[in-house]
Amino acid sequence: MIQSFEHHICIERQQVVGFACQPICIWNPRFMDHLCTDSAIEQLYKAHAAQLRNYLYYRCKDFERSNDLVQDAFSKLWEKCKDIVPEAAKSFLYTVARNAMINLSKKDQVRMEFAVQQEHSLDYETPQFDMEFAEYKTKLESAITSLPDGQREVFLMNRIDKLTYREIAERLEISQKAVEKRMHNALVKLREALTETAHLI
């Protein structure tokens, strides 16, 4: 009998009883209403809003929209605070935000621009093909902007937010293997794009 109240919600499909695969789902009432307080929601906001906004920016390439979508996602969470256990809040936020983005109209392709941390640029080694750094950066930014959404979001979450593949996988609800593949393919594509522009010159 499954009656462990240490778990909040768990869904397992592995246990086989007779011929039927049976699902298991546990509700822990001690955590009920936990998110419906100002302090709980504030804690969540401060912990996740910044990375969520970055993720949205990597995806929709528009800061203003990203900021709005963050607020919307937290409003949705607030509406459903009674039904969501704290552990599920993060993936709920990402899911809600992702779905909201799907409904947005595609904006014109604007090249994404990134600032460069000073200490790193000083260490910078002379790029291949002797490009000026600024020129190289512009090309790299264009190449990143043209990456498929899935590759771009994974690549930037790792490079800018320094998230591990596991952390990215959790947020996007995909496998770690899928994250690694996107990461690899993003690098292959970026190198190709930079090589092509170099040849044109």
Binding site: M1, Q3, Y45, R159, I160
Partner: protein
């Protein structure tokens, strides 16, 4: 050996520092390495404007809409308030039912000695039988007994679900359309819903009779029958009283139809879709939150569903 051309996670592993020494050396000697290194180093220095979480939160708080029933107080205090009001509601419901029944009994007392306790959707009541035995009656359940005969035979009829804490004495019997449970001084739970029967023994020994078959349960054991056929006799993890009496319905390996009759008993949910045969559910859900309860039943099966709180109708599609 793997290279970035043959292995589609190679570059990801390289960035994370997970290549073997051999793989890394070979890669560093390849002609494309410098380009990958440039991309890696440049993007590692990339930044986006910082997000001001303090200002963002203040703005969000100012614009948010307070959902229904959201109360601005710390969770612990709130939980206590809820618990208290739950008990008060419970006591109120129980007292209304009891006084109604006493009234009904006084009026009919001369003609009939049948005592009937019935709970509505989402109601539970606690009662004490003439011999001092205690009963907690779950939602949408009915318990009847003949008071005149009670001194001779302690025999009750039940549909729905109830937990019994029996005072010592002679045989005590609970009958359902499928089977009966008889005991001498013990604690047990009996459930009969949608031609599904379950008896769980919490203390002492109980005898369960289905047709001609007799089964003996000791503390910590339960037995389930459906349409008169024994499904299983097994042990269960015991709590002081069944989960449903403390706000959580626990179901172990029950047919989906029984889960729905439980949702109906607790919340009045009406299922309008055809219920697929052969699906077995194990899980638990709260008795005070219909949306959560439905979600906890639907999601494990991967059903897409719609619930209308006004009509209380639930429709779902199997994947």
């Amino acid at each position: 050996m793997n290279t970035w051309k043959t292995d589609d996670t190679f570059l990801a592993r390289w960035l994370a520092g997970e290549l073997s020494d051999e793989e890394r050396q070979a890669f560093e000697e390849s002609e494309e390495f410098a380009q990958f290194k440039d991309i890696s180093q440049t993007t590692a220095a990339f930044q986006v404007p910082a997000f001001d979480a303090d200002a963002g939160f203040d703005a969000w708080k100012k614009n948010r809409v307070l959902p229904r029933e959201n109360v601005e107080q710390p969770s612990e205090t709130k939980a206590n308030v809820n618990a208290l009001s739950r008990i008060q509601r419970f006591a109120l419901v129980a007292s209304i039912i009891v006084s109604a029944l006493v009234g009904a009994y006084l009026i009919q007392g001369t003609t009939s000695s049948i005592v009937e306790y019935q709970t509505g959707i989402g109601e539970q009541t606690q009662l004490i039988l003439p011999d001092g035995s205690e009963v907690i009656l779950n939602a949408n359940s009915k318990l009847t007994y003949d008071e005149k005969m009670w001194d001779k035979v302690r025999s009750l009829s039940l549909t729905g679900e109830a937990f019994f804490k029996v005072a010592s004495g002679d045989q005590f019997e609970v009958n359902t359309p499928i089977g009966s449970v008889s005991v001498i001084g013990t604690e047990f739970n009996v459930k009969y819903r949608d031609s599904f029967f379950d008896a769980s023994c919490y203390e002492g020994t109980v005898a369960v009779r289905i047709g001609a078959e007799n089964n003996v349960l000791t503390a910590g054991q339960e037995i389930t029958f459906q349409r008169g056929k024994k499904i299983e006799q097994r042990s269960f993890q015991q709590t002081a009283t069944p989960g449903w009496s403390t706000g959580i319905v626990n179901l172990t390996e029950v047919p989906l139809a029984v889960v729905f009759s439980e949702l109906e008993a607790q919340f009045g949910v009406i299922v309008t879709s055809a219920i697929p045969e052969g699906l077995i559910y194990t899980g638990s859900f709260p008795t005070n939150n219909v949306e959560s309860a439905i979600r906890l039943v639907m999601e494990p099966f991967g059903f897409t569903y719609q619930y209308n709180p006004q009509t209380q109708q639930l429709t779902f599609n199997t994947p």
